[in-house]
């Protein structure tokens, strides 16, 4: 299993300048959250009866958890397709995932108007299996736990816990780590099946769960590549270029397949004229498609001669593609009526920035405390 790979702790102080900048944004968020909890959601957000969900859901939860799917996407390669060579990337991908999911959960609590009733998810008489959000909530809670369990070997290596015991639990976690994201990441698309009539037909489709699931796997590989290159650069470590080159192949496959599926559906359901006739929606649709197409084409064309910089750039474009697709479904293509508008407020955006900063903070502290990044070849 993963244990063939060697990992190491990054050396260096935790409290660096970068660390302090992130701390500043986190502090700012704490103050703003005080306003949110004492004065209500309206005091800090631009949410309205027309747009009950804003960037805290579209970005922090939906995109945020998608960015946390690196571990899941790699697990498909490693455990199902048996490509063990990707194991060195796994642990840091799991860390990003654990942080992404924990922060997504944190954002949900901030966003929930009546958070004190959340215990209802553990009261069977309140369960509503018809609700897509019920499934999403339960799966995300469970997966957040699972992903931290998957990280325990890193802690065990440092603290000297019994490895055998840990491995057994981790095996179960690994299986759940394959099932749970498949369920809830597709369901994050299914959530808007019920927006029939509100979500523009360019996005409303029975294939929403499939589009969300396939693009999240793509985003998982992209975020793993970007994160690996970024941490190599920041900590002055060697780039994992050969491994990441292989990973781009899978991104290209999914990228092209995704665009093909999208157009095939529009064609078969007779929605193709909408791609030109829908004004702003058409523009957003084409930007979304371009963001998927450009990196797929370029990565395919450059196959042999990919440099770390190019892999990084195209991975980031893929992340924007997946993020824009999610924004299109959750906000831009979602129209409750022309008398409503939504654009995030300054404070709302600062809270999101605070959450992202918090993620970076923990990442930096974690990799300097526990062995997460692949060990340098000696």
């Amino acid at each position: 299993m993963l244990e063939d790979t060697r990992y190491e702790v990054v050396k260096g102080r935790i409290f660096t300048k970068t660390f302090m900048i992130f701390t500043f944004f986190v502090a700012l968020m704490v103050i703003l959250l005080g306003i949110r909890f004492f004065k209500g959601l309206g005091a800090v957000t631009n949410l309205s009866d027309g747009y009950p969900w804003g960037i805290w859901i579209a970005y922090d939860v939906v995109v945020g958890s998608a960015l946390g799917c690196g571990g899941y996407a790699l697990a498909i390669l490693i455990y199902i397709l048996n490509k063990k060579e990707f194991s060195p990337l796994m642990r840091s991908a799991l860390l990003t995932g654990a942080l992404g999911y924990t922060m997504a959960g944190f954002s949900v609590i901030i966003d929930l108007g009546r958070y004190w009733n959340t215990y209802g998810f553990f009261v069977p008489s309140r369960w509503n299996p018809s609700s897509v959000l019920f499934e999403v909530a339960v799966c995300i809670m469970a997966y957040t736990l699972v992903i931290w369990v998957e990280l325990t070997p890193a802690v065990a290596e440092r603290t000297g816990w019994d490895r055998r015991k840990v491995e057994k639990v981790v095996m179960i976690a690994a299986v759940l780590g394959l099932i749970l994201p498949t369920l809830h990441q597709s369901s994050l698309g299914s959530i808007h099946l019920i927006s029939l009539g509100k979500l523009h037909p360019l996005w409303h489709s029975g294939f929403l769960p499939l589009y969300f699931l396939s693009s999240v796997i793509l985003m998982g590989y992209a975020v793993t590549s970007a994160e690996s290159l970024l941490s190599s650069m920041y900590f002055g470590r060697p780039y994992e270029t050969p491994l990441l080159k292989k990973l781009t192949t899978y991104m290209v496959y999914i990228g092209f397949a995704w665009i093909l599926m999208r157009f095939l559906e529009l064609l078969l359901w007779g929605k193709l004229p909408l791609v030109f006739k829908s004004g702003l929606y058409s523009v957003m649709f084409w930007i979304e498609i371009a963001l998927f197409l450009v990196p797929s084409y370029m990565l395919w064309k450059l196959r042999g001669e990919l440099t770390p910089r190019k892999i990084f750039v195209y991975s980031i474009i893929y992340l924007f593609a997946g993020a824009l697709y999610r924004f299109n479904v959750y906000l831009i293509g979602w129209n409750p009526g022309d008398n409503w508008v939504y654009f995030p407020s300054f404070m709302e955006t600062l809270i999101t920035l605070g959450i992202i900063s918090f993620e970076f903070l923990i990442y930096l502290a974690f990799v300097k405390t526990f062995p997460v990044l692949p060990a340098k070849e000696v």
Partner: protein, 293 residues
């Protein structure tokens, strides 16, 4: 662990068979969305736009009975709600066409037959009383996720954005107030022209169709709510020449909850079992191979 008992072949056979029977009866019922039927006994309301004079007595009565504050943001001396809100559960709007034809329209919760809000609510805080058909909100369960607002095709549930302890607000047919005391809704009771009628669902549907039949020159030929969005318990009659889309109603053949539930259930019941089966087989094969080695 208990001692291994010799297994009774008859009993095993019986268990197998009963499992098969249970599976065969349960599975078809679980696949796809349930069909939702309206009960004749459900409470309902009929709004006849040709009788409404726009006096807004209904809005005032609703606020008085249900303890809702006025909305005086406009100039400080008028209760002037522009739309339904957390302070206004019902409102009279006016539609005016380019050629000057106009019609009032009352808006409030439609108390759908297959409500999207109820289907969406993850913690069953939004429920439909199957005796009365009333769709109501339960503050003891609500987590404030606002998925009901996202899901509702009529934009009905509203949220108290300015409160630290916010409520979801929508019409509940005066279930705990006027209906309890007087046996009708406040808006229907005060309406001076009989534009709003409270009654049983089947009676009102019959009445609505009768009005169209007797005065086809006066009415739009359709009763909105009979089948729209999967059927509602609030029916609308529009004046001839004005469509329901003009009055702000969505053109939905079925409840949005239907597509959501059928795909969601479909994924669970049609896609997942084969994967689980393949997975289980794989594990069995792997194990037996290990034993061979």
């Amino acid at each position: 662990m208990a001692e291994e008992k010799p297994k009774n072949p008859d009993r095993r056979e019986f268990l197998k068979k009963s499992a098969a029977v249970a599976g065969a009866t349960l599975l078809p019922g679980m696949i796809g969305a349930k069909t939702h039927y309206a009960s004749d006994e459900w409470y309902a309301m009929l709004y006849d736009a040709t009788r409404c004079i726009g006096c807004k007595s209904c809005t005032v009565a609703c606020k008085r009975v249900n303890n809702l504050p006025p909305e005086t943001e406009y100039d400080g001396i008028h209760d002037m709600a522009m739309d339904l809100s957390a302070k206004t559960k019902t409102i009279i709007k006016l539609y005016k066409s380019k050629n000057g034809e106009f019609s009032f329209v009352k808006r409030q919760c439609m108390h759908c037959v297959h409500p999207a809000c109820v289907s969406a609510c993850p913690v069953s805080a939004m429920r439909k009383d199957m005796k009365t058909g009333i769709v109501f909100w339960d503050p003891s369960r609500c987590i404030g996720c606002r998925y009901c607002m996202v899901a509702c095709p009529f934009e009905i549930p509203k949220f108290e954005w300015d409160k630290a302890i916010p409520h979801i607000v929508k019409c509940d047919m005066c279930k705990d107030t006027y209906l309890k005391e007087k046996g009708t809704t406040a808006c229907a009771d005060v309406c001076p022209t009989g534009a709003i009628v409270f009654g049983k669902r089947y009676e009102l549907l019959f009445e609505a169709k009768k009005r169209i039949r007797e005065h086809p020159e006066r009415y739009h030929p359709k009763v909105y709510g009979e089948r729209d969005a999967g059927g509602t318990s609030v029916f609308y009659l529009a004046p001839k020449g004005i469509s329901f889309e003009d009055l702000g109603f969505p053109d939905l053949e079925e409840s949005p909850a239907r597509i959501s539930e059928s795909i969601q259930h479909g994924i669970y019941e049609i896609v997942i079992p084969p994967f689980l089966t393949v997975g289980a087989l794989y594990l069995v094969l792997k194990r037996s191979k290990k034993e061979e080695d």
